[in-house]
Symmetry: C2
Subunit: 491 residues, 2 copies
């Protein structure tokens, strides 16, 4: 839709990443027609190409959520003010960001309704009815929904007033089971981010300062964007009994004692779309991982008037064959653009593979396959398409992850002093692995002085915080380090 | 989740349909755990079983929407008051039902924001930016979203403050193309309702009184519920240029003249879930069409302590085989319930096929398949399961549609006088096909006197209103009938 107009409607040039990363990002999002602003401050529209990307991302995660035993449900958009206020830390964290409904129809409401900024409060009030006995547990439910947070500064996909997400909300019999669930979903997120989004992540625990309002412990996956800033890509919260006590979610246990349930919640959002863009994109625009790309292969026919019919027919035939092989393919048969224009256009939109077919190729029963990521081109016999294209897509997916991982590792540094820390954060950004004495006040001072925050305390394979290397000192105080943590400036 | 508690938590008895249809409906929705009330008036929660049903319904329609060339997108939840007010009939129709956001964070907003009751206004304001040239047309976009209408009287699924739906919004170059799109989607809805929901529908046009606020013409599909009341199951609107003129959506045509686009919108909602329940359910609860049932086959093992392990193992093996054959299957291996209790429970939940397997069956290498709709049972050799089960499910789907169509036809009557009309509407309900002179005032009088409304003016295969039979009179005035229309009391 409306693609024909790009040439005239939007700037053909994308601001170079090296000149202004933020502007590059906005240019890519708008020019590739992923999303756009509306006249309402902070509200955006996700355009069809961006929404198709989100659908693929959503479906890939939804499969994992169901495969781990969860079911989807749908809870109300509104949270009565009295419910939101039940958990003290929770309301303190979210009240400044809440949009309030005060009138329904033409009448004022008796009680203001918050539009959910997250659904713990409304869901807990409902779970209190559903849970009666240990036999009702665990409750393993997920919701795909829109939420609203009244943000002062917004950025397409990364921080918008309304966004789309999934939020899991579970209830368990014991704290151990709750912790196990929290960590299971954290690992699901990590595997999902790496497998589907080709986005390498650090798996860790948040500090007290950075945890979710109302959580006992917050875990997270943290990614590094190509400008050296970190992105919190997903969180999983051990809620302990903070909410179950306030909302009185109790069950009669096998021993006939009435107990409060242990809860978790976990979520990822459309902000991941921003993460994909900033992980893989380059000066020419988007690069989309094949597993989530709305169009995996674009077929560009190259013809003159004399051979147009023949070339177009072959292009359509190839498109049909690839579609039958399970490839998401688009044949760009538009008349009004040259092949070169189309190449640029689809590169900007991040389509992983381009298939070029012209009269000489048809003679030789071959075509050209060009990779978006490294621009490698290869002549491929037409008979081999059904085998070669999926293999190339899989290779490209792996290579993107490897490239991102290499970038991340090259931009994860250790430093010898706080002066060097300051310097690196200012000049190079990236992650800094450094010692921290565990004191929240020190964390805040570092943030004040450098704008870097502790992104996470990394976890080992056993899901425990990794112990610091022998003799590591706190980068700020010189005291013995309690943890070696990841610092970065973050989105 | 929580199924073990049904015995104690919810009434085991469903109110008989014949005694109190409304209460039967609520009992079924709540006892089958499709949805439930919350403490907030008019707001409901869609529980996992109900949401799984909706997901299947949604996906089946989404495929059709995409196959007809539409793409999904996502537009803002909020509609600034000034935008909502642009189209006069539209705001008059919806203002009484709007929930208003007046505060964001801790500050009052400069302009109130409506929570979308439908998205014409917000989407048109965005389309005005997107459409510039005839090359941008058609715009063929659909949105899956939540909407809010402040209803005074609510009913689970059928009328709730918040509900889920899809809304298509398209722009075209000519009125002819807009009409073609409106009717195409109307026919998609009809085919969808019959194929997937086994719900026969009348395809028709709404009268002026009943059309969508802001539409030029509203088309609809109308179904008949088993209590004899009609349900508007989907609508498709030819919006003409009503919105494009108010929102200034214009394009430069090939002749270089600036013109307003022609628009359509069309939608169905979670109310269809209510339609499925009321079309197929019986005294024992739900009956779900196999194509959308979350569980198509429940396997109930019948064992004693001595042979439990063997029977359970066989039940699991059968479950795995059916799953591999693409059947949505559930093995009910719960210990705490008897087979009889399970039979009732799954019948109430509307699972189309029950597979019983016990030690004698295992000996004979067979099992029992019991249909939910007509209770027919058959012994089936285990070797034939992969062939027989899908065939039975397909047969059951067809039979449900046929049964509903027969019911609908038997409950569609003609009458000789308005007295008889009154009598039939009061005693038998159902559809009445009767002549109408085309006068909106007459339509309103009939509504006042009988609570029956004109559900639609039926369309022929050529999509034109069917001409009335020769000599047909208006049932109210005795004047020559302009149309033969469908009357009914409706949800």
């Amino acid at each position: 839709m409306a693609e024909q107009q790009n040439e005239s409607k939007v700037p053909k040039e994308i601001t170079p990443r090296s000149v202004d990363f933020s502007q590059w990002y906005v240019d890519v999002v708008r020019k590739a027609e992923l999303a756009d602003y509306t006249t309402m401050k902070g509200c955006r529209v996700i355009r069809p190409y961006g929404y198709a990307l989100w659908e693929n991302m959503r479906d890939a995660l939804d499969r994992r959520i169901k495969d781990t035993g969860h079911q989807n449900a749908y809870f109300p958009l509104f949270v009565p003010e009295s419910l939101l206020k039940k958990e003290a830390a929770h309301v303190e964290g979210f009240a400044p960001e809440v949009a309030w409904v005060t009138h329904g129809g033409n009448e004022p409401l008796e009680e203001r309704l918050a539009i959910r900024p997250t659904s713990e409060a409304i869901i807990c009030s409902i779970y209190a009815d559903w849970v009666q006995s240990w036999r009702d547990l665990p409750i393993l439910i997920n919701q795909w929904a829109n939420v609203v947070r009244w943000e002062k500064v917004t950025r397409l996909f990364l921080r918008t007033t309304e966004f789309l997400w999934q939020e899991g909300h579970t209830c368990h019999r014991t704290h151990e089971e709750g912790i196990e669930e929290t960590l299971k979903m954290l690992r699901v997120y990590a595997e999902y981010a790496e497998t589907e989004l080709a986005m390498p992540v650090i798996v860790g625990m948040k500090t007290e300062n950075e945890k979710f309002p109302g959580a006992e412990t917050t875990y997270c996956i943290e990614a590094l964007m190509s400008d050296g800033r970190a992105l919190q890509a997903g969180t999983s919260h051990d809620l302990g009994q903070h909410f179950s006590q306030m909302f009185d979610i109790t069950f009669e246990d096998e021993d006939q004692v009435r107990k409060h349930v242990w809860q978790t919640s976990w979520g990822v959002s459309t902000r991941l779309v921003g993460g994909v863009i900033m992980t893989h994109g380059d000066e020419n625009g988007l690069i989309l991982p094949p597993r989530i790309a709305p169009v995996q292969v674009v077929v560009v026919p190259i013809f003159k008037a004399a051979n147009k019919a023949e070339v177009l027919a072959k292009a359509q035939e190839i498109g049909a064959r690839l579609k039958a092989a399970g490839v998401r393919v688009r044949v760009d048969d538009r008349d009004q653009y040259s092949p070169g224009w189309k190449f640029n256009d689809w590169e900007m939109r991040g389509v992983p593979l381009r298939l070029e077919i012209g009269p000489k190729d048809i003679e030789k029963q071959q075509c050209v396959l060009a990779r978006r990521d490294n621009r490698e081109k290869a002549f491929v016999p037409l008979t081999e398409l059904e085998a070669r294209v999926p293999a190339l897509l899989a290779q490209l997916q792996t290579d993107l992850l490897e490239r991102a991982r290499r970038f991340r590792d090259e931009n994860t540094r250790t430093v010898a002093s706080f002066d060097e820390f300051r310097q690196v954060i200012e000049d190079k950004r990236g992650f800094i692995r450094a010692g921290w004495n565990g004191d929240p006040a020190v964390e805040l001072k570092i943030k004040e002085e450098t704008k870097a925050t502790i992104r996470c305390i990394p976890l080992g394979d056993d899901n425990r915080p990794l112990p610091p290397p022998e003799g590591l000192k706190c980068i700020y105080t010189g005291e013995p380090a309690k943890y070696e943590v990841y610092f970065a400036r973050a989105y």
